[in-house]
């Protein structure tokens, strides 16, 4: 462990085994470990400790099986627990619930799967996520998942859409529909490979100052290349003025 970068990856390995790393972050970590023998040794150390909790387990302990399952199917809840004080979390959840209750469209048929985006219940093939990126403390970027209740956006925030497709290649179009009914293109025909998880859709998009306050719907349509199907995914987020979050 000679460089600071290895230290960062080792920290990520710890978070991975604590169940605090998922989706794109876990994928980034695995890509790194695959090519770094020293980090793979650290991974093995943590894996061995984890397996020691299940002394009678076979080749795959239940936590490892769960992590593989999350890669195959996607986690159904954000991995990292919130650290906000309880009362702020409750207030945000209540306000988010009120927004979603008013704006929520009729639910589609529910087979039990809920996308990581936190949107409406959908079928199993494709998922949509959206990240908000803004400057955080000390100049470090702050990244938030728009699927997490209480997350809002404001002018100047950058949005990054991510798409996943379990089994078939897709082309994705995405729009944002602001509270005044205007439709704004975010993504035009971005490809998502079969089996891709959290694949970036187009470039990051900067929320313009011209968008009005209020609910913003991010609507994505996944067009199946092979079978001509079209599946819609929807996220809703509140746009607030700077200083009112």
């Amino acid at each position: 462990m000679q460089s600071t970068d290895h230290g960062r990856w080792h920290q990520a390995i710890e978070r991975h085994f604590r169940g605090e790393l998922s989706g794109e972050r876990a994928s980034e970590l695995r890509d790194h470990v695959r090519g770094c023998s020293s980090c793979e040794l650290v991974y093995e150390r943590w894996s061995r400790a984890e397996r020691a909790l299940f002394p009678a387990s076979g080749a795959l302990d239940p936590f490892a099986q769960q992590r593989i399952g999350e890669r195959l199917f996607g986690a159904t809840a954000p991995a990292r627990p919130s650290v906000r004080p309880v009362w702020i979390g409750a207030a945000l959840a209540l306000s988010a619930a009120l927004v979603l209750f008013v704006a929520r469209p009729a639910p589609v048929e529910d087979d039990g799967f809920r996308a990581r985006s936190g949107g409406e219940a959908v079928s199993s093939q494709v998922t949509l996520r959206a990240l908000r990126i803004r400057a955080g403390a000390g100049g470090q970027p702050s990244i938030a998942d728009l699927g997490v209740a209480g997350t809002t956006i404001t002018a100047g925030d950058r949005l990054k859409l991510l798409g996943s497709s379990l089994v078939a290649p897709q082309r994705v179009e995405a729009h944002a529909i602001t509270s005044d009914g205007a439709r704004h293109e975010l993504v035009a025909g971005a490809p998502v490979a079969a089996g891709a998880e959290d694949q970036g859709l187009g470039s990051t998009f900067v929320v313009p100052a011209s968008w009005p306050e209020g609910p913003v719907k991010i609507e994505a349509t996944f067009h199946g290349d092979a079978d001509g199907t079209a599946e819609r995914r929807l996220l809703e987020v509140e746009l607030v003025k700077v200083g009112t979050e």
């Binding site: 794109e24 400790a49 076979g58 099986q65």
Partner: protein, 234 residues
Amino acid sequence: MLLTEDRDLLDRFRKGERRALERVYQAYAPAIAGFLRAGFSFNSAGRSCRFKGARSQFDLEDRVHDVFSKAFAENARLGYDGLTPYKTYLFTIARNLVIDDFRRKEHALVEFSIDESPLEQPDQSRGEATDPVLGHFAPSGDPQKDNESAQLLSLVRAFVDALPEREREIYGLRFEQELEHKDIADRTGLSPSKIKTSENRIRSQFFDFMKRHGYFTGYVQDRRGWLSRALGLV
């Protein structure tokens, strides 16, 4: 025998319904992992070869993921006839993936050996814990490895013994007996969500315990914002 006996599940599986896929994955993942951990012999270009098994747990997790990723692709789901045992079908996919991997990197001899021994049929029962209590921590004959295993198990025992009574009970049911959450709920009266919370807490406390006892010493933690740069988002 899951898919050959449950035609409704088979139908939903073929359609790619998530719950059906998850159920199939949960049912067969341990067996596939055992198969890939144990290794098998095969023939390539007239040579008797042997896949010695996944070289690490990280590699094993990748291989298990790749098997199910391929098996759950539409062509593979629709290609399964619903008559032969699905386990056999999965093992064939796993075997073919490994052999394809070998052929792609024939010069990498770390995972493969070429010998004169006769071809063996894949032993689908291998890879499971040989010792029902110690499992993969059973004595291997390697003094250094056995000493490390003994120390690790000793630490686990010390950790478990120090758990509060209720969590020690959950540890026994979930970690030692590997009962499902709903089965533990039936026995204890706790809700499955509480059991899940306890399970995560036990895991987190265990890792904290191991860190305090120096099991993970030797690397530097850095809390600066590497992830954002790594993601290429800024």
